[in-house]
């Protein structure tokens, strides 16, 4: 009787890795909440947060499922276009615009996922790339996206009819709340039985099948979840940038998210966030270096891949023997 009680208490205590992650999460949240009083430019942080959520969604797929999607930008962009169009032309409320955007990219995720998960490795990546380019050319031609001009001047409106999103500080906290919610959802999925199965598929898929798991179902679910969350990032980006353009559906954006995830640390919880902030900062603050931005980005990427293969967060976690 007694042993059973102590056992159950011991089990209910968070294990060391989870404790590290929760601590880091609290520090991260505190830092982000304090941004508006820190003098950091809120629009920069909002941009980085959207990128971070996008990268986290991508990381769920590659870091935990071992699936390298090379067309993830299409989910970001689809939600962006649908949200922007809904807000501007159908003049719906912001919350409905976000829901429509996320629904659209989730639906696209179902279709893409169904086709792509039938293959592994490079074939999976190529199928996602091909499908995303297909969708890109549809957006290039479709009248509602206005081609290369993009959807411009999207009204921000009032969330739930009382939260004024035109105020940068208010908008910042809304974006932060959405980011934290999305991040938490990903964190929970990774640490759930679902996440464990996903990791086992990453390590050895035939073995997972032999244990009786329908791996296709798990992979599809992870793909859809990732697509939906990437869509959420795209929908939020519309409120920050007030436009939706072809940049967000083009394959270079898909490449950028791979870069972000590798730089921050593949398969780490916080890696994509750190990577996103670094890349966003380079785009913003190195803009005056002109043509050198891309060279600098490339050099950093090469150095990162050659010297710290676990990514920034991965290396830190390895050094301090923590789980981040």
């Amino acid at each position: 009787m007694t042993t059973l009680t102590t056992n159950s208490i011991a089990n209910s205590k968070p294990t060391a890795p989870v404790r590290d992650e929760i601590r880091t999460f609290i520090i991260l949240t505190a830092l982000l909440v304090a941004v508006p009083i820190s003098g950091l430019y809120p629009f920069f942080v909002m941009n980085a947060l959207c990128l971070a959520l996008f990268a986290c969604a991508f990381n769920l797929l590659i870091g935990y499922g071992g699936l390298l999607s090379f067309g993830h930008a299409v989910f970001l962009g689809t939600a962006g276009y649908i949200t922007a169009h809904a807000l501007k032309v159908w003049t719906v409320s912001p919350e409905l615009g976000i829901v429509l955007g996320v629904a659209a990219s989730t639906a696209l995720g179902v279709v893409t996922g169904l086709v792509a998960i039938r293959r592994q490795g490079i074939y999976f990546s190529m199928i996602t790339l091909a499908l995303s380019q297909l969708v890109y050319f549809i957006y290039l031609e479709a009248p509602f996206t206005h081609g290369e001009d993009g959807i411009q001047g999207v009204p921000q409106g009032k969330l739930f009819a009382f939260i004024d999103l035109t105020n940068p500080i208010v908008l910042y906290y809304v974006v932060l709340a959405v980011f934290l919610a999305g991040f938490f959802l990903i964190y929970r999925s990774i640490n759930s039985p679902f996440g464990e199965v996903l990791k086992s598929i990453r390590e050895n898929e035939p073995r997972a099948i032999s244990l009786g798991y329908k791996t296709d179902h798990y992979k599809l679910l992870a793909f859809i979840l990732s697509a939906g969350l990437a869509g959420l990032a795209g929908a939020m980006k519309v409120f920050v940038a007030q436009n939706a353009s072809l940049t967000d559906v083009y394959w270079t954006m898909s490449g950028e998210v791979v870069l972000i995830t590798l730089l921050g640390g593949l398969g780490t919880v916080f890696g994509p966030v750190v990577g996103a902030f670094i890349i966003a900062a380079m785009q913003e603050y190195l803009a005056s270096f002109g043509q050198w931005v891309l060279v600098i980005q490339g050099t950093i990427f090469v150095i990162c891949v050659l010297t710290f293969r676990r990514g920034i967060v991965g290396e830190v976690a390895h050094y301090f023997k923590m789980s981040l």
Binding site: F44, H146, E148, G153, Q242, N243, L246, T247, D248, A287
Partner: protein, 405 residues
């Protein structure tokens, strides 16, 4: 006690200075938002930054006690990055004026930001005519040219000059379609006829089948409604098929002198195009361009967008000089700029319409044969001058909401 007086003085000093600065603010910050790394880096890019600096020097404001600072940034042709740089420039760096902005999507996005932050935007490189129509704002001036100028200039002038039948080769996206539609309208209004068109995908490398169709149509003029690498490739391949030597005329609807320079005259000869600036037009453009070329690291003559940056910044600074101080109120400065007639070496005399459209003449050029050219950059011969009032959308036809009162 002494300590306190010192301290009081130390507190008051910055106050006094800032009060003074407020009374007669003579600080100006100009941001050149351009493409430094990609397809517009030659026609705009670092040359635009140089043009802005030359305008600052030529304005003579620094001698009158003004501080004018020029910064630059690369928007990488991404509207979201362009808009966020513009927002940061207005908010954090206190930039008063943003100039250049190649790429229609970026220009439209930055125009929104300029309106929201009450800054000033002078668009030189982007062609999208929406900037002075449906999407015009009280903070934006569209300086150098637009799709109407290109389409109407080339369409009308060439048809009048005898190019009665047209065949279009258009890039299959919004810009190509708009350019083709506007040009076709101008051709038909002048009594010409469009006998066919073919669309090619964006970034095509093989134009042979499209060009053969165009050649077989026996149209007098083949209009190239595309841009950048597509235009260069189609011109090169048209030269290989001997299209211009066969008596057909090739009209590049959007082509800058840098591209002609890169193509070389052998490939580009006989091409007809519309521009609002050419370095060898008159003594004033020549003197400006010589000075520009000497200081340009690349050694290029100024392109039309770069000349537009020079002219736009110069007019902006003249307006500030006349006001005596910088109010940092974008809409008010733009209104004052519209009041003041423009005059500079690059575009001569002109004015700005209430919808933000800068008005000046446009010119129809033909690219010279290698035997006619006296050397590098001697590329164009003038076919016709399109008077200022005909070069741009008539104000009565502009759909700009600012005009409805």
């Amino acid at each position: 006690m002494k300590k306190y007086i010192y301290r009081l003085f130390a507190y008051l000093c910055p106050l006094l200075v800032s009060f003074n600065a407020y009374a007669l603010d003579k600080n100006v910050k100009i941001g050149v938002l351009t493409d430094l790394s990609s397809l517009y880096a030659d026609s705009a890019g670092s040359g635009s930054v140089l043009a802005a600096q030359m305008a600052v020097e030529d304005s003579g404001l620094t001698k009158k006690g003004w501080t004018v600072e020029v910064i630059s940034g690369d928007h990488q042709n991404k509207p979201d990055i362009g808009a966020s740089i513009a927002r940061r420039w207005f908010d954090v760096d206190k930039v008063d004026l943003i100039v250049d902005v190649p790429n229609s999507g970026v220009a439209l996005a930055v125009s929104r930001v300029a309106k929201e932050k009450n800054g000033v935007l002078i668009v030189s490189s982007a062609a999208v005519s929406d900037l002075t129509n449906a999407q015009c704002t009280s903070n934006t001036i569209h300086w150098t040219y637009d799709t109407y100028t290109l389409a109407n200039g080339t369409g009308t002038a060439l048809t009048t000059a005898g190019g009665k039948t047209w065949y279009f080769l258009a890039a299959d996206y919004a810009f190509g379609a708009a350019l083709e539609r506007d040009t076709a309208a101008a051709v038909e209004a002048t009594g010409g006829k469009v006998i066919g068109q073919v669309k090619h995908p964006l970034n095509t490398s093989d134009f042979s089948s499209f060009l053969l169709q165009a050649q077989a149509s026996k149209a007098d003029v083949i209009g190239l409604a595309n841009a950048g690498a597509d235009t260069s490739n189609s011109i090169k391949q048209a030269a290989e098929f001997g299209i211009t030597r066969g008596g057909q005329r090739l009209a590049g609807l959007l082509l800058f002198i840098n591209e002609v320079h890169a193509l070389e005259l052998n490939a580009a000869q006989g091409l007809v195009l519309t521009a609002t600036f050419y370095w060898d037009l008159n003594d004033r453009t020549r003197s400006f361009s010589k000075r520009f070329q000497e200081r340009n690291k690349k050694g290029d003559m100024p392109s039309m967008p770069q000349a537009g940056v020079y002219s736009g910044v110069l007019h902006y600074l003249k307006t500030l000089d006349k006001a005596g101080a910088n109010s940092h109120d974008g809409a008010q400065v733009v209104a004052a700029m519209k009041e003041l007639p423009t005059d500079d070496d690059a575009f001569g005399k002109g004015y700005i319409e209430p919808n933000g459209r800068k008005i000046h003449p446009a010119y129809l050029f033909e690219v010279k044969k290698p035997s006619e050219s006296k050397g590098p950059w001697d590329y164009y011969k003038l076919l016709a001058t399109i008077p200022a009032e005909k070069a741009f959308t008539p104000i009565s036809q502009s759909s700009c909401p600012l005009l409805k009162k």
